[in-house]
């Protein structure tokens, strides 16, 4: 306590120095006076009395010094003096300060911006209570790593598992809602009644779903999201208990979800209601259409839950081999399920940003070194005047701290805009699937990382010149024109730094090149149809009025005919799922006349109208297309894709063969009438699956996706499509108007590849610039050091050409080292990121060569300027210079 008080006073003592000095002088004076007077009284002569007093005092200055040391904190005072000096020094060379500061700030900004995303996506917990106990439960099969689960399986899981406190399921759905301009489709979620309790959501208004709401035939109830409540029902409190019409049926609103409720798998669902437990799919054990989320019991680990669920799935597999053969279960943390897909790309970006920061640090370190070299004389003089080594080093350290702190603060400031900018680059649709974006921001962790980076940078900047200072003998600086070992040592160090920089730049450039190439490959995948001049729209009609086969077929025919007649439209067609969406919506088939071992032959199933293949520009390989008249009154027919034909009819003609369901039940049998060239149904980077196409009229439904081929730009007809359909029926909903090419370019796969290519590309360009500037610095410095040597060479008859060669060779050697080192690094980095690449290997020679060429050219250009300066040296001036 006492010591604290003393230190506080000493710290305060840093101020008000003048008053204290005067006080002290007065006290010493009074002391001397009193002593002298005493001495006089004891009989000493005047002169001697004063002298004796002074002697006893032991020297005024020494006393004052001791007093001063004690009255303030000398360490801090030195530090403050160093800081003031550092500021003055940095202000004296604004060019250096601005360059070093900006370079570092940019490096820090890039790293922090990416880290903010990483933090939001991978570090911050999910926005539900006790998120660590939330898990995703899926079925798994050889084809699907995480398949949906079927309702009967869910009921058995719920009954048989011993590890979950609660297990609930959800699935996406949709309603047609009466809007101001006719029926509007709105997304909805169907969930088991405990869903919100499992997540830990407390309702804002009304009551949650209960088991009493589940049995079929009871009154329909619905929960509203906060957004739907505000926008569709004016945020009125009396909405609870009100009846609303959804898809022509009456639902009672029982509650409103809180404003911050967000469930990423179904980001746009506005209405939440119970599961459909009566439909054909709900009763079939092989109809996989649900996702499951569960809350672990206390003390149960994810691994234990996974093991338990695998046992449960195994029992079910034995009990229901027809439907469950080959199906197991898997449990993973919910956070991983939601954010896992973004992990690899974020890791790549983080690595890229880290490398950029590394280059920035190296660059600034070499700038600092260059400055230290220029200040050797100053350091030598100060050392000769008695400055101790630690004092000199602390001088460098304070400068480094000032520089690093200022740059990091600036970088942190820039990060605010950088994160906002990066966030704005994410399409709104996709942003909804990235719930972590809501948490994006400069929180304490980001600031802590900024502080850490600042500390690291300060350490680098303080240590490099310090090392240099210790290496070079202080005395050398005093001798004029010394170009001794220190200069050489620094040149070696500088060269190594530049090689490192160029190598890192090479890694980033190669990475950008690989991503660019894989994006190109991705966008040029053979789709099996012509995506240009295609416009698409999704149509959904209420079951009540359009649910029967006849109604669906009539609606589909009407829609196709109407759109066909639009000006600018050449043909219109429909399918159950548009191409380039996903592999899924599958059917299990069995081929008549082939041995069957009970496994699943799983194929994509699409229901298409008769003009579908002609409209999208697919290629018929054999047989014929459907005709519009082929409906349920006719024998069932099917068209298969090339992959199916090759896989299950190798060397045979599939036309005329029959396929059916797993039991080959007579009503499931259908005859193959055509083989179409593979149409890319899955995402761009997904493999080609076998597929079967049914006539829409033999498997109709009130939900379908329409595609039209236009004669002009497809964008022009987009607004017409929805309008035309609403003219036909105002109670039919439409959504998702987009051109086919737009859909492809905006797909998640393409977007991920594109953002990787662009961001890593931006990092690479920055790295290239910094690396080249660094190389220029080293070569220029080397030339300035060797001016005399070059002068002598030229005086002895060296040609300009030879001088050029000498300098360019220096630069080329460094560049070559950097490129070789970087190429090795690039291959390693590429291998690590292989899962993100599409159609390119990490050692893609073409990319590596192109990148090496760019870097080599840039390096030569960077060394050309100093080489020219060297070659134009006037030997007389050079020799006289020192």
């Amino acid at each position: 306590m006492r010591i604290l008080r003393a230190w506080a006073i000493r710290l305060l003592g840093l101020f008000g120095k003048q008053r204290r000095e005067a006080d002290m002088a007065a006290e010493i004076d009074s002391l001397l006076d009193m002593h002298t007077a005493d001495n006089l009284r004891s009989g000493m002569p005047q002169e001697q009395a004063r002298r004796a007093a002074l002697l006893k005092l032991g020297g005024t200055e020494a006393l004052k010094e001791a007093y001063r040391e004690r009255s303030t904190a000398p360490v801090i005072e030195h530090l403050m003096r160093d800081f003031r000096f550092a500021f003055r020094q940095l202000a004296k060379s604004p060019g250096f300060t601005a360059t070093a500061g900006l370079v570092l700030a940019l490096g820090v900004c890039a790293s922090l911006a990416i880290f903010a995303f990483v933090d939001a996506a991978l570090i911050q917990p999910l926005p539900y209570p006790d998120p660590a106990r939330l898990v995703q439960v899926t079925e798994t099969s050889a084809e699907f790593r995480d398949a949906n689960i079927s309702l009967p399986n869910y009921h058995d899981w719920k009954r048989m598992n011993t590890v979950f406190r609660s297990l609930d399921v959800f699935t996406g759905s949709g309603f047609l809602v009466d809007g101001p301009t006719g029926a509007e489709p709105a997304r909805a979620g169907r969930v088991s009644s405990g869903f919100f309790r499992t997540l830990g959501i407390k309702l804002l208004l009304g009551r949650d779903l209960t088991e009493a709401d589940e049995p079929p035939g009871g009154p329909h109830v619905v929960l509203l999201t906060y957004g739907a409540w505000r926008q569709r029902y004016g945020g009125r409190f009396d909405v609870i208990g009100r009846a609303v019409r959804l898809s022509g049926e009456v639902y009672t609103v029982i509650g409103v979800l809180p404003e911050d409720f967000h469930f990423p798998p179904m980001p746009r669902a506005e209405f939440w209601t119970t599961l459909d437990s009566t439909g054909e799919c709900a009763t079939r054990r092989s109809c996989h259409n649900l996702d499951a989320v569960a809350r672990l019991k206390d003390g149960v680990s994810v691994a234990a839950a996974d093991a338990d669920m695998k046992t449960v799935a195994h029992e079910l597999e034995r009990e229901y081999p027809d439907s469950n053969r080959g199906y197991s279960a898997s449990v993973i943390p919910e956070a991983e399920a939601l954010n896992g897909p973004f992990r690899p790309i974020l890791m790549v970006l983080m690595a890229g940003a880290g490398l950029l920061l590394l280059i920035a640090c190296v660059n600034v370190a070499s700038l600092v070194l260059l400055r230290a070299e220029g200040r050797r004389r100053e350091m030598a003089v100060r050392s000769a005047l008695g400055a101790s080594m630690p004092r000199l080093l602390s001088q460098f350290a304070t400068e480094a701290v000032v520089l690093a702190a200022a740059a990091s603060a600036l970088g942190l400031l820039l990060t605010r805009w950088a994160t906002a900018g990066l966030k704005a680059l994410i399409p709104a649709d996709m942003a909804l699937q990235m719930p972590f974006l809501l948490k994006l921001g400069l929180n304490s962790r980001v600031i802590a990382v900024a502080a850490l980076l600042a500390l690291l940078a300060a350490a680098i900047f303080a240590l490099t010149p310090a090392l240099h200072l210790v290496l070079s003998r202080m005395s050398e600086g005093l001798t004029e024109g010394s170009r001794g070992s220190a200069g050489r040592a620094w040149r070696r160090l500088g060269s190594r730094l530049v090689v490192a920089e160029l190598a890192v730049a090479m890694v980033l450039l190669a990475g950008a090149g690989l991503f660019e190439k894989s994006l190109y490959r991705l966008l040029h995948v053979d789709l099996g149809f012509q995506p240009d001049h295609l416009a698409t729209i999704v149509v959904g009609a209420p079951n009540v009025h359009y649910g029967s086969n006849q109604q669906s077929i009539a609606l589909a025919r009407e829609v196709v005919r109407k759109l066909d007649s639009l000006p600018g439209v050449r043909s219109a067609a429909l399918t159950s799922v548009l191409p380039v969406s996903f592999n899924g919506n599958t059917d299990w088939i069995r081929i008549v006349g082939k041995p069957y071992h009970g496994g699943h032959i799983e194929v994509n199933e699409r229901d298409v109208s008769s003009d579908f293949f002609r409209t999208i520009g697919a290629k018929l390989v054999r047989g014929r297309y459907f005709s519009d008249g082929e409906d349920l009154s006719q024998p069932k027919v099917v068209i298969v894709n090339q992959t199916l034909a090759n896989k299950y009819f190798p060397g045979e003609d599939p036309i005329g063969r029959q396929i059916g369901d797993k039991k080959l039940s007579p009503k499931s049998l259908k005859t193959i009438i055509g083989v179409v060239d593979d149409i890319h149904e899955g995402a761009l980077d997904s493999p080609m699956w076998p597929a079967e196409y049914h006539p829409f009229n033999q498997d109709p439904g009130p939900y379908f996706e329409v595609v039209v081929r236009t004669s002009q730009k497809p964008e022009a007809v987009l607004p017409e499509l929805g309008r035309a359909i609403h003219q036909l029926h105002s109670d039919v909903g439409t959504m998702g108007e987009a051109t086919m090419e737009g859909r492809i370019a905006d797909s998640m796969t393409a977007w991920l590849h594109r953002s990787a290519a662009w961001l890593v590309g931006a990092f690479a360009v920055a790295a290239l610039l910094l690396g080249v500037v660094g190389l220029y610095g080293v070569i220029a410095y080397s030339v300035s050091q060797r001016t005399r040597e070059i002068g002598v060479r030229m005086a002895l008859g060296a040609q300009q050409r030879a001088v050029y060669q000498m300098i360019l060779r220096d630069g080329g050697r460094l560049a070559l080292f950097g490129i070789a080192l970087g190429a090795a690094g690039a291959v390693i980095a590429g291998t690590l990121a292989q899962s993100l690449l599409f159609g390119v290997r990490s050692w893609d020679v073409e990319t590596l060569l192109a990148v090496a060429g760019i870097l080599g050219t840039a390096a030569l250009l960077a060394s050309f300027a100093p080489a020219r300066r060297a070659a134009s040296t006037n030997p007389c001036d050079a020799l006289r210079m020192e």
């Binding site: 006492r2 010591i3 008080r5 003393a6 006073i9 000493r10 006080d23 007065a26 006290e27 009074s30 002391l31 006076d33 009193m34 002593h35 007077a37 005493d38 002697l55 006893k56 005092l57 032991g58 020297g59 020494a62 006393l63 001791a66 007093y67 040391e69 004690r70 009255s71």
Partner: protein, 115 residues
């Protein structure tokens, strides 16, 4: 100024200063120095260069307080006085010191049983 005089032992100066101020009441630095020398029977030589930082330290720690006043000879001088905290510190340190002294004394006594 005798050559044989002992310098003040480390750590004891503060105690001497506090004790002096307790005995004499408010006193200026010169007076304190003289008093310490006198009390020691002129066996201690007190350098002002040691005394003043010690006074400053005690003041910073709150054991003493200072204020300008006029000395007995009508000179302007800075007077130091004991604060209540200083009084407590004195009691504590004096006790500790006596204890230490007593313990040490037992070690230095001639041993009585030789066997």
């Amino acid at each position: 100024m005798g050559e044989s005089k002992t310098d003040v032992w480390q750590g004891t100066l503060a105690l001497m200063v506090l004790r002096t101020l307790e005995a004499m009441g408010p006193q200026h630095g010169y007076g304190i120095a003289r008093r310490i020398e006198q009390t020691s029977g002129s066996q201690l030589s007190l350098n002002y260069g040691t005394l003043y930082p010690a006074l400053l330290k005690l003041e910073q720690e709150g054991a003493i307080a200072s204020e300008w006043g006029v000395s007995e000879n009508n000179r302007k001088a800075k007077f130091y006085r004991l604060t209540p905290a200083g009084r407590k510190q004195l009691e504590r340190e004096a006790r500790d010191w006596r204890q230490a002294q007593a313990i040490l004394a037992r070690f230095l006594e001639p041993t009585e049983d030789a066997s």
